[in-house]
């Protein structure tokens, strides 16, 4: 303690010498970089404040918890009685995301294990690059694929009248989420120290035994985090879901039912509403709901992943 305070004292006494142009530039740079550093916090708070601000009128006046969350009647433009119930929209989002996860989780975890543990050299490099490129395909292109390729294919294969439904959007969303989940899961597997694998192999375990008994248990939190981030991705996806679900308000009873998602509702209706109207504010309230849910998902995923790093 005494030596550090002495150093500080010496540094202080020298300060008058060091306050040249470079010193001020250095301090200015530090302040600017700090402002950049806190920008993410400012934006997150800003997003919350602005969407809450715009949705506030509805939350205070028209909002009833029972109607909003428990009614499936989303009729914002009804002439008789406007109703704002998001149950069917939540069901739409949940069914599509659920199916997408059924598609994406096994394939992306399988692919992650293969890339991280079995593939090597050029194969590994090639697979990693492919996954990265898959993740880059824009969501509107996926939506177009759902509309132009999957739609006729589903009608043809299953003899149903409409091919824009839970099945279509679920598969599209699954294909979209899989590369992201694969690369996060692969990172989680790579974070398991090599000495764990070496110890197990030295005991005579085969590659698969090492993976199954050692690597997977050690990486399970990271893998869970990857799955959660995938769920968050599916939940918040807009364009692909807007174009491939069929966009009709429905609580689905089979995968061939058309549904409508929360995100897609905002995207489809916001352009037609007057700023400040109840409908407009109700759409912002859906936005608040989406923001809160994804916030919780992201925080949980981060918490789970951090948990293992500390332990």
């Amino acid at each position: 303690m005494s030596s550090s305070s002495r150093t500080a004292a010496v540094a202080n006494s020298l300060d008058f010498d060091r306050r040249g142009k470079d010193w001020y530039i250095d301090k200015l740079a530090q302040v600017l970089m700090f402002l950049g550093g806190i920008s993410a916090i400012i934006f997150i708070i800003g997003i919350f404040i602005f969407i809450t601000g715009e949705g506030l009128g509805f939350l205070i006046e028209g909002f009833s918890f029972k109607e909003f969350f428990l009614s499936s009647a989303w009729r914002p433009t009804s002439a008789k009685q406007e109703t704002y119930g998001i149950l069917a929209l939540v069901a739409g989002t949940a069914s599509v995301t659920g199916l997408a996860m059924l598609v994406a989780i096994p394939f992306s975890l399988g692919a992650a294990i293969f890339i991280a543990e079995f593939a090597s050299g050029k194969t590994r490099e090639f697979l990693k690059v492919s996954v990265e490129l898959l993740a880059a395909i824009p969501s509107v292109v996926w939506g177009f694929i759902g509309l132009a390729i999957m739609n006729p294919l589903i009608i043809e294969l299953f003899h149903v009248p409409v091919g824009l439904n839970v099945l279509n959007a679920g598969i599209i969303l699954g294909l979209m989420a899989a590369p992201i989940m694969t690369s996060i899961a692969e990172d989680a597997l790579k974070a398991v120290p090599d000495r764990y694998r070496e110890a197990a192999e030295a005991m005579g375990a085969t590659r698969w035994q090492v993976i199954y008994k050692v690597v997977l248990p050690a990486a399970k939190n990271g893998l869970l985090g990857a799955v959660l981030l995938g769920v968050g991705r599916g939940f918040g996806e807009t364009m692909a879901v807007l174009m491939a679900t069929g966009h009709s308000i429905n609580i689905p009873t089979s995968v061939f039912d058309s549904v409508r998602a929360l995100t897609a509702t905002i995207a489809a209706e916001l352009g037609e509403t007057a700023v400040g109207s109840t409908h407009y504010e109700a759409l912002f309230t859906i936005g608040i709901f989406l923001f809160v849910i994804t916030f919780i998902i992201n925080m949980t995923a981060d918490f789970i992943v951090r948990g293992i790093r500390k332990g």
Binding site: F43, F107, L127, A136, I211, G232
Partner: protein, 289 residues
Amino acid sequence: MFSASELNHRNQRIQSLFRFFLGGMTVTLMVPVVIILTVLIIKGGPAISFEFLFTNPTNGMTAGGIFPALLGTICLVLVALIASVPLGIGAAIYLSEYAPDNAFTRIINLAIINLAGVPSIVHALFGLGAFVIFFKFGTSILAASLTLAILTLPVVIVATRESLQAVPMAFREACWNMGATRWQTIRRVVLPNAITGILTGVILEVSRTAGETAPIMFTGAAFFLPLLPQSVFDQTMALSLHLFVVSTQVPNMPEHLPYGVALVLICLVLMMNSLSIALRMYLRGKKKW
């Protein structure tokens, strides 16, 4: 003398089985995408020509080209880059070079993770509420680009932070020992050594920005405009929104046209990503330390 027992053989078989199975899953993941790309190229390829890229849409968008949309996307990306690249690099420098390891830094990191996870439609709501209405930019290139800039900020921050942290600590220490200030060290030693890595992040951001649709729908991109934008306060067409419009909103659309738009968009995005990947590999080969 060692010889493999029955158990060893069985374990080996199980291993081969799983290896085959997991490899199969990996391939299955790629196959649909290859098929889709092939279909896009076969159906969209014939639509693409010099005229398609450089003329206006005609006949209620059912004929003609995509020039205003292409130009609009370039404008949106450029303005978004001007806003987000300095900010993102600043944030990354702070996190990598200045930030102490404490709770506040942890909050910044959480904010970045959350910013990356906020649904794009919520970003759109924010852009509408903040830039279009509150700051009175109107539906304009400026409002749309700022929305995109905030959406893609985490991409730049994460890529830049990684490449800054890859610069060995010894480089900085050597510089400090010569009496350089922190900023001089960052400017003369850390940034020059990290610049290629930062560039990869920026290219990734370009690709991401060009493909986003939802955030620009209500903040500055228009379905159809007869004139090209004259300033950042004008609306513009954009390639991603144009794909949405021609594939869902316009009746009697000839089939090849949306395929052509989709192909142009996907080529643009994949080219940017490939460039970024190539640059990263080149960098890895060149690394001096």
